[in-house]
Amino acid sequence: MNRFWSILFFLVPILGVGVCLMSAFGIYPFEETWLPVDISESGKDIDRAFVVVMWIIGVVFVGTGYFLAMALWKDSYSAGKKAQYSHGNTRLEIAWSVIPGFVLIGIFVYQSIYWEQQKISRPMVQQVDGSEGLQEPLVRVVAHKFGWQFWYAGMDGKVGTFDDFMIENELFLPMDESIVLQLESIDVLHSFYLRNLRIKQDLVPGKRQFAWFRIQSEKVKPNQVYDILCAELCGWGHSRMNGRLYPVTREAFDLFLLEKHREQNSFGLPVENEGGNTGDGEAE
C-alpha cells in the first residue's frame, strides 16, 4: 500500500508538467489553451519572461516532487528499522538558501528591465521646439458601468478638448507606431485589459492612467478583431463589458478621423455611436 501512495505523489509532478506541456504544444485536449495571440511589440518580452520562469519553477517542481515521492518509496515503515537520527545539516541549509536566493534575485532583475519599459517610462517624442517631451495620448478611454467610451481627437488633433468625438466600445488604432492611451473611469474601478497586447491597467475614478504599446502589423491577421475586456469586478455587468479593438493602417485611421470630423456638426458635438457600421472607416 505504501508503494501506492508514493506513486500517487509521483503523479503530481508528472501530470502537472504534462498538462503544462500539452497546453504549450496544443496537444489534445489542450488545443488553443496557451497564451493568447500576441500582436504587440513588447508582448514577446512578457511571454518570454513567463516561459523562462515557468521552466525554472518546472525544474524545482519536478525536483522537489521527485525527492518527496522517492522518500515515501524507499523509506516506508518497517518494524524494527530505525530512522536516521539527524537534526539537520548546516551546509545543506546554507546551500538551499543561497542558490535559490541568487535565482530569485536574478528573476527580479531580469523582469525589472521590461517592467520599466512597460509601465514606468512613457514614450518620449521630439516636440516642436526640439526638446523631448512625453508623447501625447491618441485616444482617451473612459470606462463606465458597463462599457467603454473611446474619445478621439477632433479637428484640433488633441484629445481632452471640446471637439473630441466618441465611439462606444469600438477602438480603432493605427498599427506600427507608438500609441499612448489615456485611461479614466467615471464611476467605479474597472481594468482595461487587452489580452493580445499584454496590457492591463486598473482605472481609478479621479485618476488618469496611461498605457502605451505598439501594434505590429505582421502579427495582425487580416480583418481580425481583438477583445477589450474588463478585468476588475465592477458590478453585475462586469462580464458583459466587452469592447472591440480594430487595428488599422495609418492611412485608414486618418481616413476614419477625417470622415468623423466631416460628420461632426459645427458645434463640435460628439457623433452618435453607430455600432458596427463604424467599421467602414477601416474597410475603406
Binding site: 519572461a49 539537520g88 545539516n89 489580452r195 499584454r198 474597410a283
Partner: protein
Amino acid sequence: MSDTGEHPRQSFISRYIFSRDHKVIGTQFLYSTLIWFLVGGGLAIALRIQLAWPWSDMPYFGNELFATEGGQITPEFYNMLFTMHASVMIFFVIIPILAGAFGNLLIPLMIGADDMAFPTLNMLSYWVMWPAFICLGLSFGTPTFGATFGWTANPPMTEGPALTFWLLALIFVGIGSMMGSVNYLTTIIQMRAPGMTMFRLPMTIWGMFVTAILQAFALPVLTAALCMQLADNCWGTGFFRPESATSTGGGEPLMWQHLFWFYSHPAVYIMILPAMGMVSDIISCFARKPLFGYKPMIYSISGIAGLGFIVWGHHMFVSGMNPMLGTTFALSTILIALPSAVKVFNWIGTLWRGNIRLTTPMLFAISFVSMFIIGGLSGIPIASPLIDIPLHDTYFIVAHIHYVLFAGTVMAVFAGIYYWYPKLFGRMMNETLGKLHFLFTFVFLNGTFFLMHVLGWMGVPRRYASFQALKQQIEEGNQQLELTASDGVSKIFVMAKDYEAIMWINEFITICAVGMGIVQVFFVLNFFGSLFFGKKAGRNPWEANTLEWTTPSPPGHGNFDFQPIVSRGPYEYSHPDTEKDFVMQTDPPLDESGQVADNDSGEAADV
C-alpha cells in the same frame, strides 16, 4: 494542576456553553467553523455550476427568488456567490479554525499549561464571533442576497445594506482575533512548563506564536479601515470615495486597497503558518525522525512573517499605484519565496531516510507539502510585476490562492483533525474511511484547481458570471462584420476560438468540485461515527514526543495529572541510544553519563 477531572460542579451552561476551559472553547470554534465550511462549500458548488452550465434554472428556489428571470440566477447573484464564498472561507473558516480551534486546543497542552493566561478573554474571543455570524447571516437577507462586491470590497463600488452587515461581521471577527492573539502571546511567553524553553517549543506553537504577532499588529489597521468604510457607507464621510453621482467625494479608493492589503496579505500567512507548524510536527512524528533543521524552520517562519508585512503592494501592481513602488514590492515578494523554499526542503529532509508510517494524518500532511510546492511556485510568476500584467485578475490567481489555502491549509487542517482527534475525544478515527477521504479529496482537488492555471495563462478573467455574453457578442459582431466587410472575409474575434476550451475546462472543474464536495461524506461519517464507535485511544496512540500526549485522552480540567517538567526538545525520534524510537519531552534524561543531551539547541549537526 493536579486536579484533573475534579472541578467544582458547574451547571451545563457554564460548563459547555459559556465555558472558560480552553478545550471547550477550542471545540466550539471547531464545530462552528466546520458548519461554516459546509456553507462556504455550498456557495462554491453553486458558483461552479453557474460557470459550467451558465444560466441553467436554479433548482428548488429559482422560481421563488428569480421569478422575473424565469428561475435563472442573475449576474449579481453570481457576484454574491463568490464574494460570500471567499468571505466565509477566509474569515469564518480558515482563520478561526487555525487560531481559534487548534490554537485554543493545542497551546496550553503543548506548552504544559493548565489553561490559557486569560480564560475569560478567551471565552469572549469565541462569543464575539456570534455577532459576526449573525451579521453575515443577516446580509443574506438583504435585497442582493448578500455582499456582491468581491471579498476585497474595493470602493467606490461598495454600498448598500449588505456592505454594512459585511463590515460589521468583519469588525467582530477582528475583535475576536485580537483578543485571541493577546491571549496566545501571553500564554506562550508566560505559562510554559518548567524546562520548556522557547527553543524546545514544537513548531505548531511557533506557528501559532508568530501568527499571533501578525494578528496583533496587522488587524488594528484592517479594523480601522473597516470602520472608515462603515462611516462612508452609513454617514457619507467619503474616506475612500472620490467625487461621483452618489458621493461628494474627497476620498481615495487606492487608500482602501493599501489599508486592506496591509492586513490581508499578512492574513495569508496567518492562514498558513500555523498549518506549517502542525505539518512539521506530524511529519516528524510519522517519519520517526527529528525535524530537519529545527532552528532554520523557526527562522524561516519568522522571515516569512517579517517580510509578510512589506509585500502587500503585490496585490496592486496594476492598480494605478506608482509602478516604481511596484518594483520595491516585487523585490520583497520574490524574496519571501526563499524562506518558503527552505521550509519545503526541510520537510523533505525530514522524510528522507525516515521510517515513514503512512497513516491518514501523515498522508494529509505530506499532501500539504506536495500541494504547497505548487501553490508556492505559482506565486513566483505573479510576484514579478511584469508577468503579473497578463496574469493579474485571471484564473491563475484563483488557482494560486486555492493551492495555498485549500490544497495547503485545508489539507493541513484535516491532518490536524485526524492527528489530534484521539486526544480531543479519546477515540481513534477510522483509518480506512480516513484514507478514502484523503485519496478522493486529493484527486478531486487537483482536478478542480490545476486546470485553473491553464485558464489563467489563456487570459480568462476571474469573476465573470459567464462567458456566454462574450460569445453572444462575438457571434452578433461577426454577423454584423460579415455584412460590412468589403473584401468578403469574415472577421473573427480572438476570444471566440478560446470559448470551446474555456467551456470544457469549466465543466471538468465543476464535475471535480462537486465530487470533492460529495467525498467529504467520508469525513463527516468518520468524525461523528468515531465519537461513538472509534477504538479507545490511550494517552499516546501515535507514540509522539510532545507534552499533550502525556495527558489522559481526553484531558480533564487542568489538563495535566502531574507537573510536566521538560528535559529536551520535541523531536527526539529514533535516538540511537534508546530502544524505543521516541523519547517524550517529559522523560527524564536517559542515563547518568548524559549521552542523551538536552536537545534544546537544535544545532544542525552534520548528517
